[in-house]
């Protein structure tokens, strides 16, 4: 029983990471139609910024700096690289893939390819008893943060004017423009939010794995893309549900199955969803 509890909470922790990456990715694709392969770079920037700043400014300030760095990177990429290429999807893909590769190479050239030990608060390194299981406390930090982000995102999307614009834009961005709204501002906003969430995932990923490496963002991005597709493009709630399903499935199959079977099971799940429910769990972006 203790193993099941531990696997369950570890799976939810992983799901929290996937959700933080996927929710931004999903909004960016849903609203702006951009398949952003550079999203993993936002995560890496956030993770490395915190890792760099922690010994200088203390961990709390470093975390804020890391999230801000992720957000700033997202905004900068949208304004400088993506904005001139809207509706030119092939070029967008090439630019974001290129940026992702260049970003990893840049991080490697500056800080090396080896994983670096990640700073984390002492309490996050401890374990706590849940039933008969000894569970690392950082799992609860990840889960709590993801739940808080989900609630904050839903409040933003449903209670604010910009949230309304984003929800409408996910359905039909041309019609939003035809109502006299500069939808490109919303594009920048979702890139910034996506960057901040990816930066948060970078920091929490550092806590979760205990280290940071240049390729961390790219490897998490693959599963985040799967979460986005399973959850339904443009749906934050769908991403949350899909992240939980993927995280738990991966953890349990990896433990009880052969090595690597967890990753395979996630791909099988993706294939099943594409066959049986191609628009994802949310069906329509209306459920943002």
């Amino acid at each position: 029983m203790s193993t099941v509890i531990l696997l369950f909470l570890t799976g939810l922790g992983l799901a929290a990471l996937y959700f933080l990456i996927a929710s931004g990715l999903s909004l960016v694709f849903g609203l702006a139609g951009v398949l952003n392969f550079a999203h993993g770079l936002f995560l890496s920037v956030g993770a490395y910024a915190t890792w760099w700043a922690a010994p200088r400014w203390g961990l709390a300030l470093a975390v804020v700096f890391g999230i801000a760095a992720g957000a700033a990177t997202g905004a900068l990429v949208e304004v400088v690289l993506i904005r001139p290429l809207y509706r030119r999807h092939t070029e967008q893909v090439l630019v974001t893939v290129g940026l992702s590769l260049a970003g990893v190479a840049l991080l490697q050239s500056v800080w090396g390819a080896d994983p670096r030990t990640y700073p984390r608060p002492s309490w996050a390194s401890s374990v706590t008893s849940i039933g008969s299981a000894q569970v690392p406390v950082d799992r609860f930090l990840l889960i709590g943060t993801a739940v808080a982000v989900l609630l904050a995102l839903l409040a933003f999307l449903h209670k604010t004017r910009y949230g309304l614009i984003i929800r409408a834009g996910v359905e039909n961005r041309d019609m939003v423009s035809a109502l006299g709204i500069d939808v490109r501002r919303a594009f920048t906003l979702v890139f910034t939010i996506g960057g901040a969430l990816a930066g948060t995932a970078g920091v929490l990923g550092g806590f979760y794995f205990g280290s940071v490496s240049p390729g961390q963002g790219a490897s998490l991005l693959i599963f985040a893309f799967i979460v986005v597709v399973i959850g339904g493009l443009g749906s934050v709630t769908g991403s949350a549900v899909a992240a939980v399903v993927v995280g738990l499935l991966q953890q349990f199959v990896n433990y009880y199955g052969a090595a690597g079977a967890g990753d395979v099971s996630v791909v099988v799940l993706l294939a099943l969803v594409l066959l049986l429910r191609p628009s994802g769990l949310a069906r329509t972006a209306a459920t943002v």
Binding site: R167, A168, S177, A178, L179, G180, A286
Partner: protein
């Protein structure tokens, strides 16, 4: 003239859809933009609105506007009611209307006067409304703001006859205050509403003049629009 379109050309996906379209829209009443399916009526509206790349000249209120971003053109007083309504299905009726508000004092009074049903259905998702109700939302979105011209694309398409009549009545009332460039296949509605008419054929203007003159001539109507005398 509130709108002047001169030598408007649009190429999309290798097709030369508009080939030098030229016409004017007067500052009052309804001007019908007519033609058979696929001649470029909707493309003309979308080109005026800046939604598709176009060359030529478009003057709105005396200012050249071609190439101006759609949202800026709309904010200068050009309201658009698209074909197939394009309401936001996942948003409620109230949210659809709130999204459209750009004036500091939106005219909810007129909207609720014309469409009392929308007040009762404010909390209902627009995607669950009937076609007629969705058309009310689409029209209401432009009526909330002060506009200098409305572009209305096939507002009666797919609606039941009773609803068509109701929509036509609303457009007649709206046209008392703001000019309308109306794309419409239902010639009975055109006869009822339009003063002027512009007929497109194969991406060019084939005829312009009074709507009554066009619809009163069965042979010309058949030749230009492919249908018999209007009801």
């Amino acid at each position: 003239m509130i709108l002047r379109v001169k030598d408007l050309s649009v190429r999309l996906g290798g097709s030369h859809i508009l080939q030098g379209v030229t016409f004017d829209v007067p500052p009052s009443g309804v001007t019908a933009l007519l033609g058979r399916n696929g001649v470029g009526k909707t493309t003309t509206l979308r080109a005026v609105l800046g939604e598709v790349p176009a060359v030529g000249t478009v003057e709105f209120g005396g200012e050249p506007v071609l190439g101006r971003p759609t949202h800026r053109l709309v904010r200068s007083g050009l309201g658009y009611v698209p074909e197939d309504r394009c309401v936001f299905a996942g948003l409620t009726v109230a949210e659809n209307l709130r999204l459209a508000v750009r004036d500091p004092d939106p005219d909810y009074e007129t909207v609720h006067d014309l469409f009392p049903e929308l007040r009762a259905r404010a909390g209902q998702r627009a995607g669950t409304l009937s076609g007629g109700q969705q058309q009310m939302v689409a029209l209401a979105r432009v009526l909330l703001n002060r506009n200098r011209l409305l572009l209305v694309d096939e507002p009666t398409k797919g609606l039941a006859p009773a609803v068509v009549s109701a929509v036509a009545s609303v457009l007649a009332r709206v046209a008392e205050k703001v000019p309308i460039l109306l794309v419409e296949q239902n010639l009975a509605v055109v006869r009822r509403l339009a003063l002027g008419a512009v007929v497109l054929s194969a991406g060019r203007v084939a005829w312009t003049g009074a709507a009554g003159e066009l619809l009163g001539d069965a042979g010309r109507t058949r030749t230009l629009l492919g249908v018999g005398r209007a009801a």
